[in-house]
Symmetry: D2
């Protein structure tokens, strides 16, 4: 932490700031510069709350140096974490594809889609049972009935299943039926839900919030890990910008940055980022090329009849194309990083 | 809803689109234009899901016309809603000021601040008991102990109190102790919490999410109203942009737009938008000048010792200045709108 | 400047960084912290290019401390600059209103609007002769003919005139005819045009770019001042965000921040920020309440017939209302700051 | 164009709107809906200015349907345009790599870097002679001396050269010396410069503005094509968002969208998007995987000594790795699209 004093700060003010910093238990070391004095705050363990010093007299600004996250940081765990979802490994150097419909609509439909995506390369099945919808008048999912269908899909196809939980009550249910619990973008800073996830023994798929910085996202993962659950997979799904040609703007630079800062695996959701089917395959290829550990993709056997998000769901043949292409790209990527 | 066909759409494709629209129960009326055909979708009640038609062959784009919200819309309730918080009215033409510390830290402190802000013009007391914090290592609030202090503040000062609820369990508690329940920006699309708020008889202060459009915000209010609770107050508190000189960018144009679209009262939180004390008073004046129904402001008797958000808390004297200034501006505003 | 080393940096790397910094002519002072070493860069005059040190081995990040602007900074000129536009003063404590049509369409029309706005409170006349338009097929302005009309307006009404210049050639013309030259948002970082403006003896109205930080904006003003022209007025006109209910998001927090950082006057353009007439009056009031030195507003005697931006132009009566309201608000503001 | 009337519009207002539309020379067709009336505007050639009708009484909103661009549109030119830069083709199905230093610093340095990048896979040499810099105190490039060095590089290595022009005067020089003229992100809506480019016989590399929509970007290209120059290459280089872990957020979804809307080739600049060297190679791979026609990359033989943007310049070995990887990914992409 660096506390920068105003140009015209007098020595009494500088001393007062030093005093205030030391009263909080830190070491303060003033550094006279050409134009102004800055005070280094030392001997803090982890991050210090910048606002503690921002209001001292004659302080111009406070600049944090240390990152605020601990358990998610590569500095506390140098290797790559590999997360087990059912019997499927994520983050072990092989690409993991998760696929399925936006929402579970019926047992027959779910089973049909599950077989289609498994044949074409998916290893984990996704499907919404409890759907967060902008409008209270939209289809909200089948609820527990949908979870039972997911369990059926697992027993029929052998694929582990992932689905979203939106509150404590639903979390209990999802944890019971599913192999991985998803926390959606809108709940990324639902700290109560993150604490609940921290107590779970199931892995958690944590989507990035639409306006979340990487630091806030990793801090959300920190909540889960601090609660005792170290099985967290991060998922980049686009951020909100002024651009309107896609639903969100997929921020692929997040992948190398997260991989540098954290040991947790990171996958990409090109479907929700794009919002339009034609962009999903290109963005899926790009996500694999940038170096992510897997994709989560919406696929439907009849997107034009889907009850939600049909416009961004791939046809099974498109999904097959995507799987072929990303496998080849993934091999290029692996060859390059092994050199 | 307008379904725009591609330039090269053949008549079979246009007929197929008409057919598909009518199968969903709507009336389709094709309009041949100079360059392409567009199909109007009629006789829908409320909004139609655009994605239903986006995937039809030869469809270029789908353009929604009707707004998706109903109960919050001024089209369903022409007059201004006035919400009672305890015995204080919000939205009745007089400015309502809510003030208090970011977090409740002690009974003595809360009472002292409450008396200070009441003397200077506040009508409702605010203070956090359960704090949503980016870091699991930051002070999380006093919990139920804080709620009891809030109740004490009310009985001592006569001011109704508002505080945030972050999940169902906390909502039950807050509803019991407080006069108004706040749903914070990070939970604006926590639909489970919105449904809980819909069942409450207490008024709800619904903050705008950091990346929420006005439509999404009003749809969040629609969740609460659809659940049976029509006592909703909206609160603009800044959106996330590239600008870093303030914590968020206060979007004051939201105020006239919300007042045009909806009958619900709208207040402004300049403290969280600014993040820095020096901006709070100017932005507070601006918010009143733009025409909001009230302000919610952080005030602390010793901001430099506050356990959270001290840098954006006003000193009591600054708050007194703010109250004087906004009262005068509010009178200008009232005079102008009565002409 | 603070050069933060990686946690695992060895002493040779730290010494190498110190060496590299000193070779550039600065003083380097390493500060051993609890977790890592940071090196303070001292004795720099003004800002140092952060990228100079970012690529040294084992450097984690480089944190600038000093602001990069000099001449525009309040640290180099403590008082408020007052700019003369013709005989009208901007920044002298009284609100200055500039008004007129988006584009000059005819002499008769311009004169009529000029008289209307002068009667209602405008002190400076605005009107576009050379219009930057997104489409090459839109009306591009009357060119020099428009400038002659502006000169006529000045001689008939006594109001100084301001209009936009888009390149060197047009700048020569505008400088000849007008009292102030506007550099538009799209040209805020047209450094060649800024250098041209630096050689002018006419005052310059510098609009903020749609995605410009305050630092970039002040640096654009620095280009003009560094060239020898210290008559710069800044104009906030909204930034581009995800929000679509207004054309841009008016960033009123820029006003107190610019006033703190710089001695230059700052005015606000609510018309281009809003894009819709209904938002212009509320945002104009808010801009005055936040403390700006003036407004620039689009007014048309028959907006529905305007050749450009009719939807955001005020009717003369609305402009009269606006002027009455902002005068009252300005008095509140002046009274409050004199206390 | 669809003119949507307010719910409570009376028939006189609807007739007045029809009248106003027809007076402008269009055909108006009112469509009574369930809740409100909308009026279709027909027989317009190209786009209609929405603001023409927005101010009619009882009009709620105006919704554009037709795209405003013509010459750049795939609807006016179905095939892919292939642009010749010197003797190198861009957009012909093979990936084109452009590389070189941010700024030309010396003849010896430029020649050394040129040979390094040519050996490793570059086909076109890039290097700045006139540099747009945020600060007037930063290195501004060697000017015409730099252009002469670029010409020398071409004659020595056979690679065509591209460099930026910032105003008319510089454009004349760059056009004389270089094989392609770059218009930078900050000048994307410098319409005067676009018109100058429209008169050139040299191809133009048009970078996307930091806050430009795809429509605005294509309209900027339309200015150039409308002026008579159809040799335009588009370059995505990131947009400005709240995210701060990269300099800009690379918007790769722009690539499939531009390829769908326009026949012009599109390349990607991962260096300026990233701002940090470690992100450049991953983003370069992703850009090729998403389907762009080429990359433009900053490479320096000694980035730590570069006079500008050293932190984002690749080392020659990294560039060699990048070229190997993208060639392989490009082959995957070509194989997939030929199926």
């Amino acid at each position: 932490m660096l506390v920068v004093m105003k140009k015209n700060a007098v020595s009494e003010e500088i001393e007062a700031a030093v005093c205030a910093i030391e009263q909080k238990g830190f070491t303060a070391r003033p550094i006279p510069g050409g134009e102004r004095v800055a005070i280094c705050v030392l001997h803090n363990q982890g991050a210090v709350d910048a606002s503690l010093f921002m209001q001292l007299p004659a302080v111009k600004e406070v600049i944090p140096v240390t990152r605020p996250f601990k358990l998610v940081s590569r500095e506390s765990h140098a290797g790559d974490s590999v997360i087990e979802v059912g019997e499927v490994l994520v983050g072990n150097g092989h690409l993991t594809v998760m696929a399925g419909p936006c929402a579970i609509e019926s047992e027959a439909g779910a089973l049909e889609i599950a077989r289609l995506v498994k044949d074409r390369g998916a290893r984990i099945f996704r499907g919404g049972a409890f759907k967060p919808r902008t409008s209270p008048y939209s289809f909200q999912g089948l609820g527990e009935e949908g979870l039972k269908i997911l369990a059926k899909v697992r027993s029929e196809t052998g694929m582990p299943v992932v689905t979203e939980a939106m509150d404590h009550e639903v979390f209990d249910l999802v944890e019971h039926y599913a192999d991985m619990v998803q926390i959606g973008a809108r709940n990324m800073q639902n700290f109560s839900l993150l604490r609940r996830a921290g107590k779970s023994r199931k892995p958690v798929l944590l989507k990035r919030g639409m306006a979340a910085t990487i630091e806030e996202w990793l801090m959300a993962a920190e909540y889960i890990m601090e609660g005792g659950n170290d099985k967290v997979i991060l998922c980049e799904r686009g951020v909100r910008t002024f651009a309107s040609h896609s639903r969100n703007t997929l921020d692929l630079s997040a992948v190398p940055v997260v991989k540098q800062e954290s040991h947790l695996p990171i996958i990409v959701d090109p479907s929700h980022a794009a919002g339009f089917r034609d962009q999903v395959v290109p963005l899926g290829r790009a996500a694999v090329a940038v170096g992510c550990h897997g994709l989560i993709v919406e696929v439907h056997n009849a997107p034009e009849k889907a009850l939600s998000d049909g416009a961004q769901s791939l046809y099974p043949d498109q999904f097959a194309d995507l799987c072929r292409q990303i496998e080849a790209i993934s091999n290029v990527y692996k060859a390059s990083t092994n050199q």
